[in-house]
Amino acid sequence: MSTSHNETVLSAQGLVMRFGGITATNNVTLNLQRGARHALIGPNGAGKTTLINLLTGVLEPTAGRITLEGQDITELAPHQRVRRGMVRTFQINQLFDTLTPMETLALTVSQHRGLGGKWWQALGSNAAVNQRCEELLEQFHLTSVMNQATNVLAYGKRRLLEIAIALACEPRVLLLDEPVAGVPAGEREELLQTVAALPADVSVLLIEHDMDLVFSFAKRMTVLVNGTVLTEGTPDQIANDPQVKAVYLGHGEEAGHAQ
């Protein structure tokens, strides 16, 4: 194994998040290696999205520390973390409804390239930005709808735009919160292949419920239950872990009996 795979890019140490009396995240430690294809799994309510919100700065942790590329980012605002290369997608689409996909991507790419404060030039006047938008629109099958308002797009297209926005930021660490939720089965593989085809040094943390996709994608997995890390390992280790089986299959059997 090459040394680059052992280099930690994103690290969370002892993260705790309490909402009133409820502990949503309980002493979570997670390390993401450079170039990782890492999956975060766990039953509903395990605190997966809360963890993403903590990592990206949407929520401020009650305790714990987060480092990105060796630097402490615990206190940084969400947009500052994006600037340092950590980008996320949302489980529920978060789009700019009145803008078109073209405008959305043009403004995202402009912002990423440090042009977001320019007020004198017109959006669409930078050839390099336009070309990048073109590539993204093409890649995510959005070219045909690029000039329609986002709020009139079909769900599948909106979902693709959700992912395209994140990739427009050229992330070094990408956090995907159930990216294929609601995407038709036929298009799921393709979407994940796009993600898998990201440069080898981009680290990806994937939250996903579809176990087939998770096992085909991930090289490493973390299982989260009730806000705590149950275990971490390779897909083989996780698949054969009796604790994990108890959590997943246990639920399955209960559901089976209930029917």
């Binding site: 978060q94 409804d97 073209m102 403004l107 402009s110 977001g116 007020w119 959006l123 669409g124 427009a168």
Partner: protein, 328 residues
């Protein structure tokens, strides 16, 4: 490559000046000549339009609701009037000073509006307007207090065009200032900066998640809008030669929001269209029933909201049975 061209065109056509826009501005600049007897109201319309366009920058394009925008209008008005009275009567220099002063005030106030929820922000904007009005009232040695600031004598525009009683110079002056600031605002909203404002308006969470410094952008646009509102206030003081506490009044903040709602937000021309409709209605109705014109304005607003602007300006869609079914 072909795709790249089409998409580029799509973004650029939206910012390109359309023929009707050019026609509108030519007409506006010709109006003090064509409608010489109505130059006074044309001047008023231009001032309200500028004020409404400045509100549109924060309300329509960024989603900041403000009920205290008159604070900056008033600041511009008093600054321009005091500058003319105490320093020098040149209108353009006075205009520049008024813009700078109200921009600085906007920058100071922007620190308060970027915190808190929409409701707290609304209260803060309201409070700033009230504070300034009381200040202008109490500092009567400077501002003339409740009597207003009188004896303001303006010099000629560019040292050549005297303000006349018919108001024609005033109208041209106001339309010119409106046009210049409108062009700048138009440029701004069509830029990457403007696009990030719309992104913040549409989805603040996602705006942050793509790296937009949301609070910084909010304070910048709030400051810019304050400077523009100050310019509108300065126009009023300079063209009437008078500034009174009325410029800070709450009803002015409320009126300008009505103007913008009438014309439509997030469009820039909404402020202009709203100013024309609002001022003409005010003028016409108050000529018929001087006491009750607010009743009719109110009724108009209710109808506008219930029927919808799109349908109101397309009367043929009211009775589809007679005019054939409108396309779905």
């Amino acid at each position: 490559m072909k795709n790249a061209l089409t998409s580029m065109n799509a973004l650029i056509t939206t910012r390109r000046w359309k023929p009707w826009e050019l026609a509108l501005w030519v007409l506006a600049l010709a109006s003090p000549l064509l409608l010489a007897r109505h130059a006074l109201i044309i001047n008023e319309i231009a001032i309200v339009a500028l004020f409404a366009v400045s509100l549109d920058l924060i309300l329509g394009f960024t989603g900041i609701v403000s009920l205290g925008h008159a604070a900056f209008f008033g600041m511009g008005a008093y600054t321009a009037a005091l500058f003319a009275k105490l320093v020098m009567p040149d209108p353009l220099v006075g205009m520049a000073v008024a813009i700078v002063v109200s921009t600085v005030l906007g920058a100071v106030c922007s620190m308060t509006i970027i915190r808190g929820s929409d409701l707290t922000r609304l209260m803060v904007t309201l409070g700033v307007g009230l504070i300034l009005m009381e200040l202008a009232n109490k500092l009567d040695w400077l501002t003339g207090g409740a009597d207003g600031l009188q004896g303001v004598v303006m010099g000629p525009v560019l040292g050549r065009f005297e303000f006349d009683l018919s108001g024609r110079t005033a109208a041209w002056y106001s339309i010119s200032v409106l046009l210049v600031l409108f062009v700048l605002a138009r440029r701004l909203v069509n830029s990457p900066f403007g696009a990030t404002l719309k992104a913040i308006r549409d989805n603040r969470l996602r705006a942050m998640a793509i790296g937009i410094p949301v609070t910084q952008r909010l304070s910048v646009i709030y400051t810019v809008a304050a400077g523009m509102a100050g310019a509108a206030g300065a126009l009023l003081a300079q063209t009437t030669g008078f500034a009174s506490l009325d410029v800070f009044e709450f009803h002015r903040s409320a009126d300008v929001m009505l103007v913008l709602v009438v014309g439509g937000t997030g469009w820039l021309y909404g402020g202009v269209a709203g100013a024309i409709v609002f001022k003409l209605m005010q003028d016409l109705i108050s000529a018929i029933t001087p006491q009750y014109w607010t009743f009719w304005i109110g009724l108009f607003l209710v109808v506008l909201v219930l029927v919808g602007r799109e349908r109101l300006i397309r009367p043929w869609t009211w009775f589809p049975r007679f005019f054939g079914r409108p396309k779905a």
